[in-house]
């Protein structure tokens, strides 16, 4: 297990270096950047995909679109898309060439899960809602969304996982965030930085997972998650 001791050695080097804890290249700043980019991309993706998914799931129109995007999305190589957008929008000198593909990649999981969630709601339930005199919007908002929420959140979680990972890769094209440690460390043969950065990103991803699990607990009605014990 010699690599294990070296591993902790690298970690010690990275986290023990005070230079890594301050300034624009410091861990707090990088962490914040990573969070910023990821959150921005995820938010944009959610703003696009959730309403679209709700609409498609509720009206049943445009299903084919969803299915096709879902299939294609998984096949699209992240790095290729990043490079393509950076080249296409060359010179704009902003974060958008990177944010756009991030958003593009994270739309499909949210879209598909939202759509599937809404579509998958028991038709009887939909029926009962209409039968009681709820209007279309009320049916969607008061019944379908709460019931489909676990899937919608799952979609967001999958997207978040993807965004965190892709933000890391995007450092290759100059984006900030924790990926910097990894990419720069690799380029400058500073493996301590690579290891430290990687561990940070992994932790970040896990925290995101946990946060979504918590969000799920808080947001989803116990009647839907069936969390309460059946007495």
């Amino acid at each position: 297990m010699t690599w294990l001791t070296s591993f902790f050695g690298w970690l010690g080097d990275f986290f023990g270096d005070p230079a890594n804890w301050s300034g624009t290249g410091g861990i707090p700043a990088r962490l914040l950047e990573h969070l910023e980019f990821s959150a921005l991309a995820l938010l944009l993706a959610a703003v696009i995909a959730v309403p679209l998914g709700l609409l498609i799931g509720h009206t049943g129109r445009g299903e084919v679109l969803v299915v096709v995007t879902a299939n294609l999305a998984r096949a699209l190589p992240t790095l290729g898309l990043l490079v393509m957008f950076v080249l296409l929008l060359l010179g704009t000198a902003s974060i958008w060439p990177v944010i756009i593909p991030l958003v593009l990649l994270s739309v499909p999981p949210i879209l598909v899960n939202t759509f599937e969630g809404i579509k998958g709601v028991d038709p009887e339930l939909r029926d009962a809602a209409y039968g009681m005199g709820l209007r279309g919007g009320q049916v969607l908002g008061r019944v379908l969304v709460p019931v489909a929420l676990p899937l919608i959140l799952l979609g967001c979680r999958l997207s978040a996982i993807q965004v965190v990972a892709t933000t890391t890769v995007a450092a290759y094209t100059g984006l900030g965030g924790l990926g910097r440690y990894v990419i720069d460390g690799f380029a400058t043969k500073d493996y301590a930085s690579v290891v430290g950065g990687s561990v940070l990103i992994v932790l970040f991803a896990l925290v995101v997972q946990v946060l979504f699990a918590l969000a799920q607990r808080v947001a989803v009605s116990p009647g839907v998650s069936r969390r309460l014990k059946v007495r």
Binding site: R74, P77, Y172
Partner: protein, 226 residues
């Protein structure tokens, strides 16, 4: 050689098969190897683990929890961390992808076995199947559609994820992306994306085909049932 950059087709024509390792055809081969190996490994690992989880239920909860964690790990950092163990080799890309694949396949195997209706399992027992024979002749064949559905996900994402390996010099067709980024030029990017997507779709198509051949009882469902 004319002036100005070559068109997409010209570029592809010149680089398709130069007989050197950086030719597109070579990258394609590398890409295939690096995406196929994880799929195979994932299958080999997930099948017994999935069977074990289905057999000993208490295993499933912790296993799937762990797999959830594995699935959430961003690929690049994992590649990087693995370099210290496996060096800058294809193995470094293959191992994490195999883990992702396993993370997807274990639940697929368990779900697949769960998809065997209890009454079918019971009647197999009642007819005098021994446990092993029941697994092989009844449960696994019935689990095939669900397992294959998982395998499709694994294949497609494996194929597209390999390209990230380009950042450590092992990305198969992903190499086209880094090359095009260093020397800004669209055709390699387009070629790379299209080939990867095409590869994914072909793999997907083959698996669908395999499913049809392996499970005629599922295919016929959509046909005339009268």
């Amino acid at each position: 050689m004319g002036d100005g950059p070559p068109s997409l087709w010209e570029w592809i024509g010149r680089n398709w098969d130069t007989g050197r390792v950086d030719s597109i055809s070579n990258l394609l081969t590398d890409h295939l190897v690096m995406s196929f190996m994880p799929i195979l490994l994932a299958l080999v690992v997930a099948l017994p683990l999935g069977l074990a989880c289905a057999r000993w239920r208490w295993l499933y909860q912790p296993t799937s929890g762990l797999m959830n964690v594995v699935y959430a790990l961003p690929s690049l950092p994992v590649f990087m961390l693995l370099i210290s163990v496996t060096g800058l080799s294809q193995t470094t890309v293959i191992i994490p992808l195999a883990f992702y694949g396993t993370a997807v396949l274990i639940p697929a195997v368990v779900d697949g076995l769960d998809s065997v209706p209890d009454h079918v399992r019971q009647s197999a027992v009642a007819m005098g199947f021994t446990p092993l024979r029941r697994l092989l002749a009844v449960e696994l064949p019935i689990a095939v559609p669900v397992v294959l559905a998982g395998l499709r996900v694994v294949a497609v994402s494996s194929i597209s994820l390999v390209s990230v390996g380009a950042l450590i010099g092992q990305g198969g067709l992903g190499g086209l992306f880094t090359r095009a980024y260093q020397n800004p030029f669209m055709p390699p990017v387009i070629t790379g994306i299209v080939l990867i997507v095409a590869l994914a779709l072909v793999a997907d198509g083959l698996l669908v085909l395999a499913q049809r051949l392996l499970t005629p009882w599922v295919r016929a469902r959509k046909g005339t049932a009268s």
